[in-house]
Symmetry: D2
Protein backbone atom coordinates (compact mmCIF):
# COMPACT_ATOMS: atom_id res chain seq x y z
CA UNK A 1 0.00 0.00 0.00
CA UNK A 2 1.53 3.27 -1.18
CA UNK A 3 1.23 6.65 0.57
CA UNK A 4 -1.60 8.84 -0.76
CA UNK A 5 0.44 12.01 -0.30
CA UNK A 6 3.80 13.03 -1.73
CA UNK A 7 6.44 14.85 0.26
CA UNK A 8 5.51 18.08 -1.53
CA UNK A 9 1.80 17.66 -0.80
CA UNK A 10 2.63 16.97 2.84
CA UNK A 11 4.77 20.09 3.13
CA UNK A 12 1.99 22.16 1.59
CA UNK A 13 -0.67 20.64 3.88
CA UNK A 14 1.48 21.14 6.95
CA UNK A 15 2.10 24.82 6.20
CA UNK A 16 -1.61 25.48 5.80
CA UNK A 17 -2.88 23.57 8.81
CA UNK A 18 -0.09 24.06 11.34
CA UNK A 19 1.36 27.49 10.50
CA UNK A 20 2.51 27.86 14.14
CA UNK A 21 4.94 24.91 13.91
CA UNK A 22 5.76 24.69 10.21
CA UNK A 23 9.32 25.93 10.74
CA UNK A 24 9.83 23.66 13.71
CA UNK A 25 9.33 20.31 11.96
CA UNK A 26 10.61 19.16 8.57
CA UNK A 27 9.29 16.02 6.87
CA UNK A 28 12.34 14.30 5.38
CA UNK A 29 10.90 11.10 3.96
CA UNK A 30 7.60 9.31 3.39
CA UNK A 31 7.44 5.56 2.80
CA UNK A 32 4.60 3.05 2.92
CA UNK A 33 3.52 3.00 6.60
CA UNK A 34 6.56 5.08 7.66
CA UNK A 35 7.87 8.63 7.90
CA UNK A 36 11.05 10.42 8.96
CA UNK A 37 10.79 13.90 10.49
CA UNK A 38 13.39 16.37 11.77
CA UNK A 39 12.78 18.75 14.67
CA UNK A 40 14.81 21.95 14.78
CA UNK A 41 15.82 22.23 18.42
CA UNK A 42 16.16 25.73 19.85
CA UNK A 43 16.72 27.39 23.22
CA UNK A 44 13.08 27.04 24.28
CA UNK A 45 13.35 23.24 24.02
CA UNK A 46 16.27 22.95 26.42
CA UNK A 47 16.13 22.17 30.13
CA UNK A 48 18.55 22.32 33.08
CA UNK A 49 21.62 20.17 32.34
CA UNK A 50 21.41 20.92 28.61
CA UNK A 51 18.90 18.18 27.82
CA UNK A 52 15.92 18.51 25.47
CA UNK A 53 12.60 18.81 27.31
CA UNK A 54 10.22 15.85 27.50
CA UNK A 55 7.35 17.83 25.96
CA UNK A 56 9.55 18.76 22.98
CA UNK A 57 10.39 15.08 22.40
CA UNK A 58 6.74 14.11 22.85
CA UNK A 59 5.77 16.76 20.30
CA UNK A 60 8.20 15.32 17.76
CA UNK A 61 7.01 11.73 18.28
CA UNK A 62 3.40 12.90 18.02
CA UNK A 63 3.87 14.90 14.83
CA UNK A 64 5.96 12.18 13.16
CA UNK A 65 3.28 9.55 13.73
CA UNK A 66 0.57 11.98 12.61
CA UNK A 67 2.48 12.54 9.36
CA UNK A 68 3.06 8.81 8.78
CA UNK A 69 -0.68 8.27 9.25
CA UNK A 70 -1.87 11.21 7.14
CA UNK A 71 0.44 10.18 4.31
CA UNK A 72 -1.44 6.85 4.17
CA UNK A 73 -5.02 8.09 4.63
CA UNK A 74 -4.82 11.51 2.99
CA UNK A 75 -5.13 14.98 4.53
CA UNK A 76 -7.62 14.62 7.39
CA UNK A 77 -6.57 17.31 9.81
CA UNK A 78 -8.95 16.14 12.55
CA UNK A 79 -7.10 12.87 13.08
CA UNK A 80 -6.21 13.05 16.79
CA UNK A 81 -3.93 11.30 19.27
CA UNK A 82 -5.82 9.00 21.63
CA UNK A 83 -2.84 7.62 23.52
CA UNK A 84 0.92 7.81 23.74
CA UNK A 85 3.43 5.89 25.80
CA UNK A 86 6.94 7.34 25.72
CA UNK A 87 10.14 6.04 27.30
CA UNK A 88 13.08 8.41 27.60
CA UNK A 89 16.27 6.35 27.33
CA UNK A 90 19.31 8.52 26.76
CA UNK A 91 20.24 12.18 27.14
CA UNK A 92 20.11 13.67 23.62
CA UNK A 93 23.20 15.26 22.11
CA UNK A 94 23.08 19.00 21.47
CA UNK A 95 21.44 19.63 18.08
CA UNK A 96 18.41 18.51 16.10
CA UNK A 97 16.37 15.37 16.67
CA UNK A 98 15.16 12.91 14.04
CA UNK A 99 12.05 10.75 14.39
CA UNK A 100 11.42 7.49 12.56
CA UNK A 101 7.73 6.57 12.70
CA UNK A 102 6.21 3.28 11.58
CA UNK A 103 2.58 2.20 11.47
CA UNK A 104 1.97 -1.32 12.80
CA UNK A 105 -1.79 -1.41 12.22
CA UNK A 106 -3.81 0.91 10.02
CA UNK A 107 -7.53 0.27 10.53
CA UNK A 108 -10.57 2.29 9.51
CA UNK A 109 -10.81 4.12 12.81
CA UNK A 110 -7.38 3.67 14.43
CA UNK A 111 -3.73 3.94 13.45
CA UNK A 112 -1.31 2.22 15.86
CA UNK A 113 2.47 2.24 15.74
CA UNK A 114 5.69 3.49 17.23
CA UNK A 115 8.39 6.13 16.83
CA UNK A 116 12.10 6.12 17.62
CA UNK A 117 13.87 9.42 18.29
CA UNK A 118 17.56 9.96 17.54
CA UNK A 119 20.02 12.79 17.93
CA UNK A 120 21.09 13.83 14.42
CA UNK A 121 24.06 11.66 13.44
CA UNK A 122 23.57 8.97 16.13
CA UNK A 123 21.99 5.53 15.72
CA UNK A 124 21.19 5.06 19.43
CA UNK A 125 17.57 5.99 20.18
CA UNK A 126 17.09 8.69 22.84
CA UNK A 127 13.39 7.88 23.22
CA UNK A 128 10.80 5.37 22.02
CA UNK A 129 7.08 6.10 21.81
CA UNK A 130 4.00 3.96 21.07
CA UNK A 131 1.04 5.92 19.73
CA UNK A 132 -2.60 5.45 18.77
CA UNK A 133 -4.40 7.93 16.55
CA UNK A 134 -8.15 8.08 15.99
CA UNK A 135 -9.15 8.56 12.35
CA UNK A 136 -12.37 10.55 11.79
CA UNK A 137 -15.17 8.73 9.90
CA UNK A 138 -15.64 9.69 6.23
Amino acid sequence: MQPKMTLIEMHSFFEQVFPQVKDKFEVLDLQPMAATVRMHVDEADLRPGGTISGPAMFALADVAFYIATLAMIGPKALTVTTSCNINFMRKPEPGDLLAKARILKLGRSLSVGDVELFSDGSDKPVAHASLTYSIPPK
Copy 2:
Protein backbone atom coordinates in the same frame (compact mmCIF):
# COMPACT_ATOMS: atom_id res chain seq x y z
CA MET B 1 5.06 12.70 55.13
CA GLN B 2 4.84 16.45 54.60
CA PRO B 3 6.13 18.37 51.54
CA LYS B 4 9.63 19.81 51.96
CA MET B 5 8.73 22.93 49.95
CA THR B 6 6.02 25.53 50.48
CA LEU B 7 3.98 27.02 47.66
CA ILE B 8 6.08 30.19 47.88
CA GLU B 9 9.36 28.28 47.73
CA MET B 10 8.05 26.34 44.75
CA HIS B 11 7.08 29.51 42.90
CA SER B 12 10.49 30.97 43.54
CA PHE B 13 12.30 27.79 42.43
CA PHE B 14 10.20 27.53 39.29
CA GLU B 15 10.90 31.11 38.24
CA GLN B 16 14.63 30.62 38.61
CA VAL B 17 14.95 27.26 36.90
CA PHE B 18 12.28 27.45 34.20
CA PRO B 19 12.12 31.14 33.26
CA GLN B 20 10.87 30.18 29.78
CA VAL B 21 7.64 28.66 31.12
CA LYS B 22 7.11 30.43 34.43
CA ASP B 23 4.13 32.39 33.10
CA LYS B 24 2.64 29.34 31.44
CA PHE B 25 2.14 27.22 34.57
CA GLU B 26 0.83 28.22 38.00
CA VAL B 27 1.17 25.97 41.04
CA LEU B 28 -2.15 26.24 42.89
CA ASP B 29 -1.74 23.75 45.72
CA LEU B 30 0.80 21.41 47.32
CA GLN B 31 -0.27 18.54 49.53
CA PRO B 32 1.55 15.45 50.81
CA MET B 33 2.25 13.38 47.66
CA ALA B 34 0.02 15.63 45.53
CA ALA B 35 -0.05 18.89 43.59
CA THR B 36 -2.53 20.97 41.58
CA VAL B 37 -1.25 23.07 38.66
CA ARG B 38 -2.97 25.40 36.19
CA MET B 39 -1.85 25.85 32.58
CA HIS B 40 -2.69 29.12 30.87
CA VAL B 41 -3.86 28.04 27.42
CA ASP B 42 -3.13 30.40 24.55
CA GLU B 43 -3.38 30.44 20.77
CA ALA B 44 -0.17 28.45 20.27
CA ASP B 45 -1.66 25.51 22.21
CA LEU B 46 -4.71 25.15 19.96
CA ARG B 47 -5.13 22.76 17.03
CA PRO B 48 -7.61 22.38 14.14
CA GLY B 49 -11.14 21.97 15.51
CA GLY B 50 -10.37 24.19 18.52
CA THR B 51 -8.86 21.45 20.67
CA ILE B 52 -5.77 21.80 22.84
CA SER B 53 -2.71 20.10 21.35
CA GLY B 54 -1.49 16.79 22.71
CA PRO B 55 2.00 18.16 23.42
CA ALA B 56 0.50 21.01 25.47
CA MET B 57 -1.48 18.52 27.59
CA PHE B 58 1.59 16.30 27.91
CA ALA B 59 3.59 19.33 29.06
CA LEU B 60 1.05 20.09 31.77
CA ALA B 61 0.94 16.48 33.03
CA ASP B 62 4.72 16.36 33.03
CA VAL B 63 5.21 19.61 34.92
CA ALA B 64 2.48 18.82 37.46
CA PHE B 65 4.06 15.50 38.38
CA TYR B 66 7.50 17.11 38.48
CA ILE B 67 6.18 19.68 40.94
CA ALA B 68 4.44 17.05 43.10
CA THR B 69 7.72 15.14 43.26
CA LEU B 70 10.00 18.15 43.90
CA ALA B 71 7.72 19.32 46.70
CA MET B 72 8.38 16.02 48.47
CA ILE B 73 12.13 15.62 47.80
CA GLY B 74 13.20 19.27 47.71
CA PRO B 75 14.52 21.34 44.80
CA LYS B 76 16.51 18.92 42.62
CA ALA B 77 16.21 20.39 39.16
CA LEU B 78 17.86 17.40 37.45
CA THR B 79 14.99 15.08 38.32
CA VAL B 80 13.92 13.85 34.85
CA THR B 81 10.98 12.04 33.25
CA THR B 82 11.78 8.45 32.36
CA SER B 83 8.38 7.43 31.04
CA CYS B 84 4.89 8.75 30.47
CA ASN B 85 1.71 7.06 29.30
CA ILE B 86 -1.09 9.46 28.43
CA ASN B 87 -4.66 8.74 27.35
CA PHE B 88 -6.66 11.57 25.76
CA MET B 89 -10.30 11.03 26.67
CA ARG B 90 -12.40 14.09 25.93
CA LYS B 91 -12.06 17.25 23.87
CA PRO B 92 -11.17 20.03 26.33
CA GLU B 93 -13.41 23.06 26.69
CA PRO B 94 -12.00 26.42 25.58
CA GLY B 95 -9.99 27.90 28.45
CA ASP B 96 -7.35 26.88 30.94
CA LEU B 97 -6.51 23.35 32.04
CA LEU B 98 -5.99 22.09 35.59
CA ALA B 99 -3.82 19.12 36.53
CA LYS B 100 -4.15 17.03 39.69
CA ALA B 101 -1.01 14.98 40.26
CA ARG B 102 -0.60 12.27 42.88
CA ILE B 103 2.47 10.21 43.77
CA LEU B 104 1.75 6.49 44.23
CA LYS B 105 5.31 5.45 45.08
CA LEU B 106 8.16 7.67 46.17
CA GLY B 107 11.40 5.70 46.31
CA ARG B 108 15.01 6.81 46.56
CA SER B 109 15.57 6.71 42.81
CA LEU B 110 12.06 6.76 41.29
CA SER B 111 8.80 8.65 41.75
CA VAL B 112 5.76 6.94 40.19
CA GLY B 113 2.23 8.27 39.95
CA ASP B 114 -0.50 9.71 37.80
CA VAL B 115 -2.11 12.98 36.75
CA GLU B 116 -5.66 13.84 35.75
CA LEU B 117 -6.28 16.86 33.52
CA PHE B 118 -9.49 18.87 33.62
CA SER B 119 -10.92 21.87 31.81
CA ASP B 120 -11.29 24.66 34.34
CA GLY B 121 -14.70 24.29 35.97
CA SER B 122 -15.36 20.71 34.84
CA ASP B 123 -15.00 17.50 36.87
CA LYS B 124 -14.71 15.18 33.86
CA PRO B 125 -11.07 14.41 33.07
CA VAL B 126 -9.93 15.28 29.54
CA ALA B 127 -6.76 13.21 29.87
CA HIS B 128 -5.06 10.82 32.28
CA ALA B 129 -1.31 10.27 32.46
CA SER B 130 0.93 7.81 34.34
CA LEU B 131 4.48 9.04 34.89
CA THR B 132 7.80 7.87 36.24
CA TYR B 133 10.52 10.33 37.23
CA SER B 134 14.11 9.47 37.96
CA ILE B 135 15.53 11.17 41.07
CA PRO B 136 19.25 11.99 40.94
CA PRO B 137 21.44 10.41 43.66
CA LYS B 138 22.51 12.70 46.50
Copy 3:
Protein backbone atom coordinates in the same frame (compact mmCIF):
# COMPACT_ATOMS: atom_id res chain seq x y z
CA MET C 1 -25.24 6.56 36.44
CA GLN C 2 -25.90 3.28 38.24
CA PRO C 3 -24.42 -0.12 37.32
CA LYS C 4 -26.67 -2.27 35.10
CA MET C 5 -25.58 -5.47 36.84
CA THR C 6 -25.79 -6.50 40.49
CA LEU C 7 -23.02 -8.38 42.25
CA ILE C 8 -25.09 -11.58 41.98
CA GLU C 9 -25.67 -11.11 38.24
CA MET C 10 -21.96 -10.48 37.76
CA HIS C 11 -20.99 -13.64 39.64
CA SER C 12 -23.42 -15.65 37.54
CA PHE C 13 -22.19 -14.12 34.26
CA PHE C 14 -18.56 -14.68 35.21
CA GLU C 15 -19.11 -18.36 36.02
CA GLN C 16 -20.78 -18.97 32.67
CA VAL C 17 -18.38 -17.07 30.46
CA PHE C 18 -15.02 -17.63 32.20
CA PRO C 19 -15.35 -21.06 33.83
CA GLN C 20 -11.56 -21.50 33.63
CA VAL C 21 -10.88 -18.57 35.99
CA LYS C 22 -14.07 -18.34 38.06
CA ASP C 23 -12.33 -19.62 41.21
CA LYS C 24 -9.34 -17.36 40.67
CA PHE C 25 -11.12 -14.02 40.86
CA GLU C 26 -13.83 -12.84 43.23
CA VAL C 27 -15.85 -9.67 42.62
CA LEU C 28 -16.15 -7.97 46.02
CA ASP C 29 -17.95 -4.75 45.19
CA LEU C 30 -19.60 -2.89 42.30
CA GLN C 31 -20.14 0.86 42.40
CA PRO C 32 -20.99 3.43 39.73
CA MET C 33 -17.92 3.45 37.42
CA ALA C 34 -15.92 1.31 39.88
CA ALA C 35 -15.28 -2.27 40.98
CA THR C 36 -13.21 -4.12 43.60
CA VAL C 37 -11.91 -7.61 42.79
CA ARG C 38 -9.84 -10.13 44.76
CA MET C 39 -7.35 -12.53 43.17
CA HIS C 40 -6.60 -15.75 45.00
CA VAL C 41 -2.82 -16.08 44.69
CA ASP C 42 -1.43 -19.60 44.46
CA GLU C 43 1.89 -21.31 43.82
CA ALA C 44 1.63 -20.93 40.02
CA ASP C 45 1.54 -17.12 40.40
CA LEU C 46 4.82 -16.89 42.31
CA ARG C 47 8.27 -16.13 40.88
CA PRO C 48 11.88 -16.33 42.13
CA GLY C 49 12.27 -14.25 45.30
CA GLY C 50 8.68 -14.95 46.38
CA THR C 51 7.11 -12.17 44.32
CA ILE C 52 3.86 -12.44 42.35
CA SER C 53 4.43 -12.71 38.60
CA GLY C 54 3.84 -9.72 36.31
CA PRO C 55 1.35 -11.64 34.15
CA ALA C 56 -0.70 -12.57 37.24
CA MET C 57 -0.88 -8.90 38.27
CA PHE C 58 -1.71 -7.89 34.70
CA ALA C 59 -4.49 -10.51 34.66
CA LEU C 60 -6.01 -9.07 37.83
CA ALA C 61 -5.88 -5.47 36.54
CA ASP C 62 -7.39 -6.59 33.25
CA VAL C 63 -10.25 -8.56 34.78
CA ALA C 64 -11.05 -5.85 37.35
CA PHE C 65 -11.41 -3.19 34.67
CA TYR C 66 -13.43 -5.57 32.50
CA ILE C 67 -15.82 -6.12 35.40
CA ALA C 68 -16.11 -2.40 36.18
CA THR C 69 -16.97 -1.81 32.52
CA LEU C 70 -19.41 -4.71 32.11
CA ALA C 71 -21.24 -3.68 35.26
CA MET C 72 -21.97 -0.33 33.58
CA ILE C 73 -22.80 -1.51 30.05
CA GLY C 74 -24.33 -4.92 30.79
CA PRO C 75 -23.04 -8.39 29.94
CA LYS C 76 -21.23 -8.03 26.60
CA ALA C 77 -18.63 -10.76 26.72
CA LEU C 78 -16.88 -9.60 23.54
CA THR C 79 -15.69 -6.37 25.12
CA VAL C 80 -11.89 -6.61 24.66
CA THR C 81 -8.76 -4.90 25.95
CA THR C 82 -7.16 -2.60 23.38
CA SER C 83 -4.32 -1.28 25.52
CA CYS C 84 -2.82 -1.52 28.98
CA ASN C 85 0.01 0.36 30.65
CA ILE C 86 1.14 -1.15 33.94
CA ASN C 87 3.74 0.09 36.42
CA PHE C 88 5.01 -2.33 39.04
CA MET C 89 5.90 -0.30 42.13
CA ARG C 90 6.40 -2.52 45.17
CA LYS C 91 7.00 -6.18 45.87
CA PRO C 92 3.66 -7.63 46.95
CA GLU C 93 3.29 -9.25 50.37
CA PRO C 94 2.59 -12.99 50.43
CA GLY C 95 -1.17 -13.56 50.09
CA ASP C 96 -4.05 -12.39 47.95
CA LEU C 97 -4.18 -9.24 45.86
CA LEU C 98 -7.04 -6.72 45.66
CA ALA C 99 -7.77 -4.52 42.64
CA LYS C 100 -9.66 -1.23 42.71
CA ALA C 101 -10.79 -0.27 39.21
CA ARG C 102 -12.33 3.06 38.21
CA ILE C 103 -13.69 4.19 34.85
CA LEU C 104 -12.60 7.71 33.85
CA LYS C 105 -14.43 7.85 30.51
CA LEU C 106 -17.25 5.58 29.36
CA GLY C 107 -18.06 6.25 25.71
CA ARG C 108 -20.09 4.28 23.20
CA SER C 109 -17.09 2.45 21.80
CA LEU C 110 -14.38 2.83 24.47
CA SER C 111 -14.04 2.52 28.23
CA VAL C 112 -10.91 4.18 29.68
CA GLY C 113 -9.70 4.09 33.26
CA ASP C 114 -7.22 2.79 35.76
CA VAL C 115 -6.68 0.11 38.41
CA GLU C 116 -4.66 0.07 41.61
CA LEU C 117 -3.46 -3.26 42.99
CA PHE C 118 -2.89 -3.84 46.72
CA SER C 119 -1.72 -6.70 48.88
CA ASP C 120 -4.62 -7.71 51.08
CA GLY C 121 -4.48 -5.58 54.22
CA SER C 122 -2.12 -2.92 52.85
CA ASP C 123 -2.99 0.55 51.53
CA LYS C 124 0.22 0.99 49.51
CA PRO C 125 -0.35 0.10 45.86
CA VAL C 126 1.93 -2.61 44.45
CA ALA C 127 1.01 -1.76 40.86
CA HIS C 128 -0.97 0.79 38.87
CA ALA C 129 -2.48 0.12 35.44
CA SER C 130 -4.21 2.31 32.84
CA LEU C 131 -6.52 0.41 30.51
CA THR C 132 -8.67 0.93 27.44
CA TYR C 133 -11.42 -1.51 26.48
CA SER C 134 -13.23 -1.60 23.17
CA ILE C 135 -17.00 -2.03 23.49
CA PRO C 136 -18.69 -3.95 20.65
CA PRO C 137 -21.38 -2.07 18.69
CA LYS C 138 -24.99 -2.97 19.52
Copy 4:
Protein backbone atom coordinates in the same frame (compact mmCIF):
# COMPACT_ATOMS: atom_id res chain seq x y z
CA MET D 1 28.00 -6.80 21.94
CA GLN D 2 27.37 -10.54 21.85
CA PRO D 3 24.92 -12.43 24.10
CA LYS D 4 26.50 -13.93 27.22
CA MET D 5 24.27 -17.02 27.07
CA THR D 6 23.80 -19.58 24.30
CA LEU D 7 20.44 -21.03 23.36
CA ILE D 8 21.33 -24.23 25.23
CA GLU D 9 22.35 -22.34 28.37
CA MET D 10 19.11 -20.35 28.21
CA HIS D 11 16.99 -23.50 27.89
CA SER D 12 18.77 -25.02 30.87
CA PHE D 13 18.40 -21.85 32.99
CA PHE D 14 14.72 -21.53 32.11
CA GLU D 15 13.95 -25.13 33.09
CA GLN D 16 15.60 -24.67 36.46
CA VAL D 17 14.16 -21.30 37.39
CA PHE D 18 10.68 -21.43 35.82
CA PRO D 19 9.71 -25.11 35.97
CA GLN D 20 6.02 -24.11 36.01
CA VAL D 21 6.17 -22.54 32.52
CA LYS D 22 9.07 -24.35 30.84
CA ASP D 23 6.75 -26.27 28.50
CA LYS D 24 4.72 -23.15 27.70
CA PHE D 25 7.50 -21.05 26.18
CA GLU D 26 10.25 -22.08 23.75
CA VAL D 27 13.25 -19.85 23.03
CA LEU D 28 13.82 -20.09 19.26
CA ASP D 29 16.64 -17.64 18.69
CA LEU D 30 19.05 -15.36 20.55
CA GLN D 31 20.81 -12.48 18.79
CA PRO D 32 22.69 -9.43 20.09
CA MET D 33 20.01 -7.34 21.86
CA ALA D 34 17.19 -9.55 20.48
CA ALA D 35 15.31 -12.80 21.07
CA THR D 36 12.54 -14.82 19.43
CA VAL D 37 10.22 -16.90 21.63
CA ARG D 38 7.27 -19.20 20.85
CA MET D 39 4.28 -19.63 23.14
CA HIS D 40 2.33 -22.87 22.92
CA VAL D 41 -1.28 -21.73 23.04
CA ASP D 42 -3.76 -24.08 24.71
CA GLU D 43 -7.40 -24.09 25.80
CA ALA D 44 -6.72 -22.14 29.00
CA ASP D 45 -5.39 -19.19 26.94
CA LEU D 46 -8.55 -18.77 24.87
CA ARG D 47 -11.42 -16.35 25.51
CA PRO D 48 -14.97 -15.87 24.19
CA GLY D 49 -14.91 -15.46 20.41
CA GLY D 50 -11.86 -17.73 20.05
CA THR D 51 -9.29 -15.03 20.75
CA ILE D 52 -6.17 -15.43 22.89
CA SER D 53 -6.48 -13.76 26.29
CA GLY D 54 -4.74 -10.47 26.99
CA PRO D 55 -2.87 -11.89 30.01
CA ALA D 56 -1.51 -14.74 27.86
CA MET D 57 -0.18 -12.23 25.31
CA PHE D 58 1.22 -10.06 28.09
CA ALA D 59 2.95 -13.13 29.55
CA LEU D 60 4.60 -13.89 26.19
CA ALA D 61 5.78 -10.30 25.69
CA ASP D 62 7.10 -10.23 29.24
CA VAL D 63 9.01 -13.50 29.02
CA ALA D 64 10.44 -12.69 25.58
CA PHE D 65 11.89 -9.40 26.78
CA TYR D 66 13.17 -11.06 29.96
CA ILE D 67 15.00 -13.63 27.83
CA ALA D 68 16.44 -11.01 25.46
CA THR D 69 17.75 -9.14 28.52
CA LEU D 70 19.11 -12.17 30.40
CA ALA D 71 20.92 -13.36 27.28
CA MET D 72 22.87 -10.08 27.32
CA ILE D 73 23.53 -9.74 31.06
CA GLY D 74 23.78 -13.40 32.08
CA PRO D 75 21.47 -15.45 34.31
CA LYS D 76 20.16 -13.04 36.95
CA ALA D 77 16.80 -14.49 37.87
CA LEU D 78 15.82 -11.50 40.01
CA THR D 79 15.65 -9.14 37.05
CA VAL D 80 12.04 -7.86 37.24
CA THR D 81 9.55 -5.99 35.07
CA THR D 82 9.04 -2.39 36.19
CA SER D 83 6.63 -1.32 33.44
CA CYS D 84 4.85 -2.59 30.36
CA ASN D 85 2.69 -0.85 27.81
CA ILE D 86 0.87 -3.20 25.46
CA ASN D 87 -1.39 -2.43 22.48
CA PHE D 88 -3.60 -5.19 21.13
CA MET D 89 -4.02 -4.61 17.40
CA ARG D 90 -5.48 -7.66 15.66
CA LYS D 91 -7.34 -10.79 16.66
CA PRO D 92 -4.76 -13.60 16.63
CA GLU D 93 -5.23 -16.62 14.36
CA PRO D 94 -5.83 -19.97 16.08
CA GLY D 95 -2.47 -21.52 16.94
CA ASP D 96 0.81 -20.56 18.55
CA LEU D 97 2.17 -17.05 18.98
CA LEU D 98 5.70 -15.83 18.25
CA ALA D 99 7.38 -12.90 20.00
CA LYS D 100 10.24 -10.84 18.61
CA ALA D 101 11.91 -8.84 21.36
CA ARG D 102 14.54 -6.14 20.87
CA ILE D 103 16.48 -4.14 23.45
CA LEU D 104 16.72 -0.42 22.66
CA LYS D 105 18.76 0.58 25.72
CA LEU D 106 20.73 -1.71 27.99
CA GLY D 107 22.01 0.23 30.99
CA ARG D 108 23.49 -0.93 34.28
CA SER D 109 20.18 -0.82 36.11
CA LEU D 110 17.53 -0.80 33.36
CA SER D 111 16.79 -2.65 30.12
CA VAL D 112 14.31 -0.88 27.83
CA GLY D 113 12.84 -2.16 24.58
CA ASP D 114 9.86 -3.55 22.75
CA VAL D 115 8.25 -6.79 21.57
CA GLU D 116 6.08 -7.59 18.58
CA LEU D 117 3.73 -10.58 18.75
CA PHE D 118 2.69 -12.55 15.66
CA SER D 119 0.43 -15.50 14.95
CA ASP D 120 2.64 -18.31 13.70
CA GLY D 121 2.97 -17.94 9.92
CA SER D 122 1.74 -14.32 9.75
CA ASP D 123 3.83 -11.15 9.40
CA LYS D 124 1.15 -8.79 10.74
CA PRO D 125 1.69 -8.05 14.43
CA VAL D 126 -1.25 -8.90 16.73
CA ALA D 127 0.20 -6.87 19.60
CA HIS D 128 3.08 -4.51 20.39
CA ALA D 129 4.55 -4.03 23.85
CA SER D 130 7.13 -1.63 25.32
CA LEU D 131 8.85 -2.91 28.44
CA THR D 132 11.30 -1.81 31.10
CA TYR D 133 13.14 -4.31 33.28
CA SER D 134 15.10 -3.50 36.40
CA ILE D 135 18.46 -5.25 36.63
CA PRO D 136 19.63 -6.11 40.17
CA PRO D 137 22.96 -4.59 41.27
CA LYS D 138 25.97 -6.91 41.27
